[in-house]
Symmetry: C2
Subunit: 199 residues, 2 copies
């Protein structure tokens, strides 16, 4: 108790801005608490320490933003190739359309264990390999194959030999070829499955 207290308990202050100053102090303390609430790692509850922690946190965030930004730029550079591949495919599709080339295929018997096949489909990287893989799984072996790419399309004429006595399944091959060709453009990397699991 000091001199500002009068006998009746009423408090007397020299300055009228006392309450205002109180409010100001409390406001600043509240802001500091808000700041502390945002910072995850707190070493101390000190006012100064809160600010220090906030500073190091901001620096950490800034570094994080820089790193992530760099990483994104790096990834963009890496994904550039893929976009090239995509634009390549778009170009192929447009060129095929321009020249009026349609996806098509023909399958005919040559003799009991050989068939002749012609396929025209849109050029795509790895497309021929996928086709070979699918045919191989279906039980056919490429004997003579001619491959030509032109105007965004791939033309495959091939003489196939059936294995496992599957040569009577040429009609099934005709039904499956659209799926095989479609699977070439699928986004998944799965190899073509054994037909026994499809049929």
């Amino acid at each position: 108790m000091d001199s500002r207290h009068i006998n009746d308990g009423t408090e007397v202050y020299k300055s009228k801005n006392l309450v205002a100053e109180r409010r100001r102090r409390q406001k600043l303390s509240d802001r500091l608490l808000e700041l502390r609430a945002l910072v995850p790692i707190i070493t101390n509850m000190n006012k100064a320490t809160i600010i220090i922690d906030a500073i190091s946190y901001i620096q950490e965030l800034q570094k994080c933003v820089r790193d992530l930004s760099d990483e994104i730029h790096e990834m963009e550079a890496i994904c550039e190739e893929e976009s090239k591949t995509q634009s390549e495919e778009i170009d192929a599709a447009e060129e095929m359309k321009k020249w009026g080339i349609e996806t098509e295929f023909t399958v005919t018997h040559i003799d009991d264990n050989k068939i002749w096949m012609k396929i025209v489909f849109q050029k795509k990287r790895g497309g021929f390999t996928k086709l070979m893989n699918a045919m191989s799984v279906l039980g056919f072996e490429f004997i003579d194959t001619s491959v030509t790419t032109s105007k965004g399309a791939i033309l495959v004429t091939s003489c196939l030999e059936g294995m496992h006595g599957r040569m009577h399944e040429v009609d099934q091959l005709r039904e499956l070829l659209p799926d095989i060709i479609r699977s070439i453009y699928g986004d998944t990397d799965h190899t073509y499955m054994d037909p026994s699991q499809i049929l």
Copy 2:
């Protein structure tokens, strides 16, 4: 001048804590200035305003980090396919090694305007297309081609017909084939260049 001043000008303070308190206050002010230096947008120089600005800046940074993080995850999902392709190539290389298959090629004449060629190289998506493209630019046309993929390798046996009277350049083809095969695994997407620009 208040009561703490004595006639001789010496200052007398009740508390020894005074200098320590001065240091503490200055330290806090310094930290606040540091904080202000880190925050790009400053609305006011007020102590409270500095903290408010820092708060909103931290929130902005946090949001930025979240957004960048999301973007990276999105990109990672997109680039997943490419990593699959890469692992596919690694698998192919390992399998070739496991089976002791070496990259090799043979080129021989058949007659005046036909050559026979055998190439074994590591399986890669689009590799055969690149090979075809390179051979086409070099002035050769695929007549009969057999392609087989097995144990991570691609075996291409092919009968080629020379165009533009280039059939006397078979020796040059032998010299160029290593470069062609190497260009299949290059990271660039350029089509194989005309040999007149190489030789």
